[in-house]
Symmetry: C2
Subunit: 474 residues, 2 copies
């Protein structure tokens, strides 16, 4: 439902008279709505760049494969900038290729309130993870422009680079640099993962983030820092990527926190040997040891209410009749509390050592394990002011739903995944909004949210930004 159908005040799209956020009534704020059709059209339009695996008959029934800083990413970035400039926004690009588009407010010298997320995807990703967040920002600006709504502080939309960590294996790296939690030099030197499916450059030498930024002309000259590009707050709309909302029939999740997680790279070192002539008790089979570790990791994590996952595995030398002497794999441990993740890690270190020691013990040459920490994201609590704005907005947007207790359609929720909001929260008030997605599925071509749910989320973020502006300046 578009905002203009709410006849509380007759808004004029001819912008004859400017409207100020600080002068709106509470009822008028609650009546603000994003345009469902326009949002859906823009979202799928932007998905023409990085078209992925087809899963259905419809024109938009495909996934996405838009790896960070690929040619497809360049195209969608160009479109994003053009779109925001047409909407009269000022666009800047920083040294990590983060794109900030700001619709000026009435006051000079105050930082804008940002809506942000990312346009890159997993190699077999979908059309909503990240993309919806940026597109809801565009839709917010379009709605404000149409209404002639003037904010006190500016309103910005930011596209963060390489949020997924799929091509360059540190997720949220560019918001991390912006927050000055990750050094720029480390980020610029980070090499792409050469095994990612269909990576355009897999055949050549791996690109670094810096060389990839240069290659697609997105190495900006604004320093990547919250000091150079300040924000008043950061709001992010995202699909839940989990089953809670969709299972409960709820429509909005007010995200209050993000679970803790740690990413590791592990090597298991055993001994190459012949598969046909080497008895089990004479093997130091690194892949067998890995398999036992993965099975055990689930047991240990589950017992503590945590998650442990392996997404990448590589066995060398990689020959049918040679027992692998080296296995490298990624390990992703998550949990609701930082301390729980540490406990799982500690237990797995001990368990993995025991598994390695047993494999090859018969020949006195046991396997061994090496751990490297790639990423450590402690649990995050979002900011009360932002959470309040989101909660009020969510209740307002679902208020016209045909159920007795519309408040039951909104719940507080913790994010299982990391998002750029994790890093922005370290510097500025931040919170997030979740909407349901089909089967809770994400990082999959069939990832899907209805146009209705997307518009609900966009309406919530539109109102939240307006409420935050009012909170700041009244």
């Amino acid at each position: 439902m578009a905002w203009s159908l709410h006849p509380i005040r007759t808004f004029s799209t001819s912008k004859i008279q400017a409207m100020l956020t600080t002068e709106l009534s509470e009822a008028e704020v609650s009546a603000l709505r994003a345009n469902k059709e326009r949002l859906a059209e823009d979202l799928h339009h932007s998905c023409q760049w990085g078209y992925g695996i087809r899963w259905g008959e419809g024109p938009t029934d495909t996934g996405m494969q838009r790896l960070a800083l690929s040619e497809e990413d360049r195209s969608v970035r160009n479109w994003f900038i053009k779109t925001m400039q047409d909407l009269k926004c000022n666009v800047t690009v920083d040294e990590m290729g983060n794109i900030f588009a700001v619709r000026p407010g009435r006051r000079a010298g105050v930082p804008p309130t940002f809506i942000g997320s990312h346009l890159d995807t997993q190699p077999t990703g979908g059309r909503y993870d990240g993309i919806l967040g940026v597109l809801s920002g565009i839709e917010t600006i379009k709605t404000m422009n149409d209404m002639g709504l003037e904010t006190e502080g500016g309103v910005g939309v930011v596209n963060w680079t390489n949020e997924e960590g799929a091509r360059f294996p540190i997720s949220m790296i560019s918001s991390g640099v912006w927050a000055e939690c990750i050094p720029l030099e480390q980020a610029h030197a980070l090499q792409e993962v050469p095994t990612v499916a269909s990576l355009p450059t897999a055949a050549s030498a791996p690109e670094t983030m810096k060389s990839a930024l240069q290659k697609i002309d997105y190495l900006g000259d604004v320093p990547c820092s919250y000091k150079s590009t300040p924000m008043a707050a950061h709001f992010e709309l995202h699909i839940e990527q989990g089953p809670h909302l969709v299972s409960a029939g709820q429509r909005v999740g007010v995200v209050t926190a993000v679970q803790a997680y740690k990413w590791f790279r592990l090597n298991v070192i055993g001994r190459d040997t012949h598969t046909g002539t080497t008895a089990f008790e004479h093997r130091a089979d690194a892949l067998y040891a890995f398999s036992r570790m993965m099975v055990r990791a689930r047991e240990v994590a589950a017992a503590k209410g945590c998650l442990a996952s392996v997404g990448i595995v590589e066995a060398k030398p990689g020959s049918v009749n040679t027992v692998p002497g080296l296995v490298s794999f990624s390990l992703d441990i998550r949990g609701p509390e930082t301390e729980l993740v540490v406990e799982v890690e500690k237990e797995l270190r001990s368990e993995f050592d025991a598994i390695a020691a047993a494999e090859g013990a018969g020949i006195g040459k046991p396997c061994r394990v090496e751990w490297t920490l790639d990423f450590d994201s402690p649990a995050v609590k979002f900011h009360e002011d932002c959470i309040d704005c989101v909660q009020q907005s969510a209740h307002a947007v679902v208020a016209d739903a045909p159920v007795a207790d519309t408040k039951s359609l909104v719940r507080s929720i913790m994010s299982g995944a990391g998002h750029d909001s994790v890093f922005t929260s370290k510097r500025v008030p931040t919170s997030m909004i979740f909407i349901p997605c089909k089967d809770g599925l994400s990082h999959h071509p069939e990832e899907f949210s209805t146009a209705e749910d997307c518009a609900t989320g966009a309406s919530v973020i539109l109102q939240a930004v307006v409420r935050y502006d009012r909170k700041r300046f009244t």
Copy 2:
């Protein structure tokens, strides 16, 4: 010890008077010896092409990486042909690039007795697997030439193409075509494995065996068949690649049989999803299912006295924070009897189905498993005549060892690995000779046999070929 040190008859290297195998006394045959130093020198000389991983300080303390039909393989093939031509052998190359070098015998129109093995290696292989077999053939010809020993039938040395199956994933494929057990068209169309470490062409489109043969100029025009290149018999010297000889302090294994094995490629199909937001019970994690399968495979195989091994595994999409929805892996099942391998396969098919069905059951989208049989090699019994020749020769060669019961230094043994002799045995009398290798280790850079043990094996094969010639023609 070189044969000439045995003063039973004064052999002249000036070849004034030809010596005939049929006229030698039993004692003279038993005194025949390969030249230890020359064999070692030739072997390490040939290992300059495809130099592998260094593991020690000595000049020959490296492994080998000489994938079939690589540039390194081309170089060693050129050297092999030049060497054999210099030794007055007639060389032919067939459509699979198999190289046959024949030292003519006294009789026309009878097939030669062959010594054969392979010059290709695993990606992280050593200096003895296959290489020793071909080099022992060269040494045999050199010794016969030096002695002026004339055989009735010719004596040939054959280098079989791609025995390892490491680059082109069917092992012994070219002896298989020669035996008319594998169609030429299938072999020519076989594509290389693109993930093999350091494969020179991994970055470009995968080569087929035919295109790779053409590329290195080894696509011969002789039909690849036992009908076009007939053999009287095939003898093969090989390192044991297992611990039995070395553990027992024995010096020669008389190989009477080869265990059965089957190679499969399996796919586990699950569902890509987000690692951070998907509870274990909502996952169809193909890699977790794989891990459980690999753990179970060892249990099932061990219970039946068989082996089950995974050498290759690939998980897609291959991203740290995406649960893999597709895992492909190789499975190599071996056992002393054909029927036992079938039993293990049958049990694993059922077990793997159960594991797959459990993973994803919570979301009604369980994993599933697909099996493809790549290779089926039933158990092989070698030929009594050849086994007899090897056994007599082995006892003769170790007869001067400083132990009370020299016969205890020789044992009958079953081969755990497949060899080209498996295919030759389908068409002509065949057997093999094993010598000890350090720690039973093979398919590893540190694979090692002493020069003494190599020469023992070469002396046995030299005598076996002479004995077989005498058996045929007296």
